[in-house]
C-alpha cells in the first residue's frame, strides 16, 4: 500500500517534471495546430551540446574514479548496459506489431541510467545506515554510455539488414519484371529510400550474405550523436574541461533539454497513432523490465560481493542503476542516433512508467533484498 502511494506520487511528479511537461506540451500544441517551429540548426546545436555534456560528465567521472578498485563492478555495469539492449531486442521487439527500432530504442533508454533515481537510492541507503563505497555512484557512466552506444549500433545493424533485404527483393523483381516504384513507406527512414539501382547493387556486392558489423559500428561512432558524446568523454578524461563544464554545458543542460523535449513532443504527436495497437506491450515491458534488469545486476553484484568484498550497499546501487531508465541522457542521444525510432514509444515507456516503477517499487525491493541477505 505504501509502495503504491509512493508509485502514484512519483507518477504525478514525473508528469509535472519539465522533461515530460515540455514533451506533453509539444504534443498538445502540435495537436492544436500551432505554427511554432524550432529551426533545424537550433535542434542540431542543442543535440550537440546535450551529448557533449553527457560525454563530459561521464569522462570527468571516469577520470576521477579509481578504476583498479572498481574494475569488477564497472565491468558488470558495462555488461548489464549492453545486455539490456539485447533483452529488448529479443523480447519486446518480437511482440506482435511492435516496431523493432522502437523496441531497441526503448531497450537503450532502460539500459541507460537515471541520475535522480540513483540519487533517491543513495538517500535511502544513508537513511537506512547501509554503507556503500564512495565510488559506487561513479558506476553510472559505465552502464549508461554502453547501453546507448549499443542501442544505436544494434538499431543500425537491423536497419542495414532490412535495407539490404529490401534491396535484394527489389533487384530480383527488377530482373524479372519491368521498373516498379518502391513506396517510401517501406523504408524505416526517409534517407534510406533508394536513390537508384546502382547503389543497391553496390550494397549487394560489398556485403555478400550477411551485413558486415564493423563498418556499421564505425559509421555509428562517426555519426553526429556518438561522435559528440565520445568527444565529450575523451575531453573529460584527457583534459581539464571543468571550467567550461561548470559555466556552460552543465547549467544549460536542463533548459536545452526542455526545448528538445518540446521538439520531440511535436514530432511524437504525428506518430502517436502508431502506438494504438502496441501500447499494452510497452506497459507490460515497462512494469517488468526494471525488476528483471535489477535482478540481473543484483546477481552480478552479489558475485562481486563474495569475490572482492563489494559492499551490499554497492550491490543495491548497481541493481538500482540497472532498474532505472534514463529520462535525461537517453532521449537526445536516441533521437540523434536512431532518428527513425518513435519517441512517443520509448520516452513514454521510460518516463511515464519505468521511472516511477524504479523509484517507487524497485528501490525498496532491492534494499529489502540486500537487508535480508545481509541479515540486517
Amino acid at each position: 500500500m505504501d509502495f503504491l502511494s509512493y508509485f502514484l506520487m512519483d507518477f504525478v511528479k514525473q508528469l509535472q517534471s519539465p522533461t515530460l511537461g515540455f514533451l506533453i506540451g509539444g504534443m498538445v500544441i502540435a495537436a492544436l495546430g500551432s505554427q511554432l517551429q524550432i529551426p533545424e540548426s537550433i535542434v542540431k546545436i542543442i543535440v550537440f551540446m546535450l551529448l557533449t555534456k553527457i560525454g563530459l560528465t561521464g569522462g570527468i567521472a571516469i577520470r576521477n574514479s579509481n578504476l583498479t578498485e572498481m574494475i569488477l563492478p564497472a565491468a558488470f555495469s558495462v555488461a548489464v548496459g549492453i545486455l539490456i539492449v539485447f533483452i529488448a531486442r529479443y523480447t519486446l521487439a518480437k511482440l506482435p506489431k511492435v516496431k523493432t527500432v522502437d523496441a531497441i530504442a526503448t531497450g537503450g533508454l532502460f539500459g541507460a541510467v537515471s541520475g535522480s533515481t540513483m540519487a533517491a537510492s543513495l538517500t535511502l541507503l544513508e537513511e537506512q545506515k547501509m554503507s556503500y563505497e564512495a565510488w559506487a555512484a561513479a558506476l553510472y557512466p559505465f552502464m549508461d554510455i554502453p547501453a546507448l552506444v549499443a542501442a544505436i549500433v544494434v538499431a543500425n545493424i537491423y536497419l542495414n539488414r532490412k535495407k539490404r533485404r529490401t534491396a535484394d527483393e527489389y533487384l530480383s523483381k527488377q530482373e524479372s519484371f519491368s521498373k516498379q516504384p518502391v513506396a517510401a513507406g517501406d523504408y524505416p527512414d526517409r534517407q534510406d529510400y533508394p536513390g537508384n539501382r546502382q547503389e543497391y547493387r553496390k550494397q549487394k556486392d560489398s556485403a555478400d550474405n550477411r551485413v558486415k558489423i564493423w563498418p556499421i559500428v564505425q559509421e555509428s561512432l562517426q555519426g553526429p550523436a556518438l561522435s559528440a558524446m565520445l568527444l565529450g568523454i575523451a575531453l573529460g578524461i584527457l583534459t581539464r574541461p571543468e571550467s567550461v563544464y561548470e559555466s556552460f554545458y552543465d547549467p544549460l543542460f536542463r533548459g536545452l533539454l526542455s526545448v528538445l523535449m518540446l521538439v520531440m513532443g511535436m514530432e511524437a504527436w504525428s506518430r502517436i497513432g502508431e502506438l494504438r495497437k502496441v501500447a499494452q506491450w510497452y506497459v507490460v515491458y515497462s512494469l517488468v523490465a526494471p525488476f528483471v534488469h535489477g535482478l540481473i545486476a543484483f546477481g552480478l553484484g552479489l558475485i562481486a560481493h563474495y569475490a572482492t568484498g563489494f559492499s551490499l550497499g554497492g550491490v543495491v546501487i548497481l541493481a538500482v542503476i540497472a532498474a532505472s531508465s534514463s529520462d535525461i541522457s537517453g532521449p537526445p542521444t536516441l533521437r540523434a542516433g536512431i532518428p527513425s525510432a518513435n519517441p512517443s514509444a520509448y520516452i513514454g515507456a521510460s518516463t511515464a512508467i519505468g521511472t516511477p516503477v524504479a523509484i517507487g517499487l524497485c528501490i525498496p525491493f532491492f534494499l529489502g533484498l540486500a537487508q535480508a541477505i545481509g541479515g540486517g
Copy 2:
C-alpha cells in the same frame, strides 16, 4: 520641479539601459553600413525563448496566487489591459498619417506591464508605509498578457479586413478590365501579397460581408508568438517548471532580449523615416496615455476598495501597472505577433517616453491621490 528632475534622470537612465542601448546600437550600426547579421534561425529561437519565459513567469505567478481572494482586481486588470488596446485603436490610430498596425502595437505595449516600474512603486509604497496586499504584485500577468494577446488579435482582424477589401477591389477591377498587377507596397506585409486570383475568390466566398472574428483569433493563438507564450503559461500553471525556469529561461532572458533589441534596431533603422510626419502624435500619446490608463485603473481599483476592501496601496499598484508600458515582454511578442508594425514607433514611444513618464510622474501622482483619498 522634483518631478521633472526625477523624469529627466529616469529618461537618461532609460537611454543607458541595455534594452534601449542595444536598440539604438542596432540603429547606429545599420546607419553606418555594418554587415553584421543575426541569422534568422537565431532570431526565431530567441523569440521562442523570450515568449516561453514570459508565459512561464505569468503561469507560475498565477499558480502561486490565491485566485479567489484577488478575483475582482484580477478581472479589472484583464479588462484594463484589453481596453488600453482599444483606446489606442480608436484614438492614436485615427490621427493623421499614423499607421493603424503601429498604433495597435503601441497600445499593446502600453497595456503590457513594466516589471521595473511596478517594482519602483512597491519600493515607494514601503517607504511611505502604505500597506498593500502581498498578492498585488501578482496582478501584473493579468494585465500584461491580455493586452499583448488583444493587440495581436486586433491587428490581425484589421489586416484581414484590409486584405479582403483590397481583394474585393482587385476582383471587381479584374472583372471590368484586363489583368493589372498589384504593387506589393499596397499590402501591409510581404506575406499578404496575393499569390493568385483563386485564393482571393476563396477569401471572398468564405467571408461574406464581414470578416469572421473567431478564425482570426484562433489563427493568432496558433501563431509562433502566442503559442509559445500560451505554452509557457500552461506549463507554468500545470507543471513544476521552476528548475528549468531558474536555470535557463530566466537568467538568459535579458541577454537574449539584448540580441533581439539589436536586431530590432537594425530593422527599425530602415523604417525610421516613416515616423517623420507622425512622431509628434506618438509623443502626445506617450505623455497622455499613462495618466489616462492609470486613472481608469485607479477608478476600478476604488470600486474594489469600497466593494471588497482592496487596500489603497493595492489601488496604487493597479494604477501604476496600467500606467506603465512594457519594455521587456512587449517588444519580442509584438515583433513576432505583428511583424508588419514598425518597432521604431512602438518601442520608441514606450521606452523613451512612456516609461520615464510612468516612473517619474505617474507613480508620485497616484500615490498622492491615494493618500489624499485615504486622508493620510
Copy 3:
C-alpha cells in the same frame, strides 16, 4: 632549470585547457571522419556574442579607468599592439613559404593580450611585494583591441593588393591571349575568385596605381567581426550594460568559445598540411617574439617611469601584456576578420608555444629585470 620546469608544466596545462582541448578535439574528430557539424548560423551567432563580449569588456574597462592618469602608458599600449602586427608582417611573413595572411594573423594574436598571463604576473608581483598602479591591469584593452583591428586591416590591405595585382595580370593576359581560366587556388579566399572581367576592370579603374587604404579600413570596420566588437566597446563606454554583461555575455563566453574552437579545429585539420614546410618558422617566431615584444614595451614603460613616475611594477605589467599572446579574444576575432588565414598556424603558435613562453619565461625575466633596475 626552474624556468624550464615552469615552462613544461605550463605547456602541459595549456594542452589540457578547454581552449586547446576543444581545438585538438575538433582536429581529431575531423581526422576520424566524424559527421558532426555545427550549423553555420550557430557559428555566426557565437562569433557575434564572443566579439560583443570582448568589446563590452574593453568598453567597460575604459569607462571605469581614469584616462588622464594613464594616458602615456595607454598610448604606449596602443602603439605596441599595432607595432607587433607590423613586426610580424615584415619578419615572419618574409620567411620562405610562410603565407602572408597567416603571418599577419599570428602577429595579431601575439599583439593581443592573454588575461590569464596578465593575472599570473599580478599574482607574482604581489608575492614579490612590488607595487603597481591599480589601473595598470586596465591597460590591456588598449593593446588587445588595436592589435586585432590592425591585423584585420593590414590583412585586408594585403589581400586587396594581391587581388588587384592578379586582376592586372589577368587583364593583360586577356588582352594578349584568348580567354584563359584562372584557378581558384590562386586566390587567398574563395570569395575573391573573379566572377567576371567587368568587376576586374572596375577594380582596376577605381584604384589606379596603389590600393586606397581608407576604403579598406572602413570596410574592415563594417565587417561582422569588427562591427560587433566596436558596438560592444561603444555600448560599454556609453551605456550601462553591466546587467546583461554579467548575466549573459560574460558567463557564456568560455563555453561558446569552446564550441568555436571545436569548429576551428575541424577547419584546421584540413589545412594542417600547409604547415609541414613552415612549422619551424612558427616555432622560432613563437619563442623569440614574446621577448622582443616584451622588451619594446619594457623600454617604453621605462620612459613613462622616468617621465611620469609610472611604477616599475606597472612597467613589468606593460611588458608582460606585450609578451603575452591571446588565446581567448584573438581566435574568434581573427577567424571572422581574416577568414582566409589558417587557424592551425596562428592558434598553434600562440597557444602551444607563445603562452607557455610568456608565462614560464617572460614573467620571471621581466620581473628580474625590473628588480635589477629598481635595485630591489
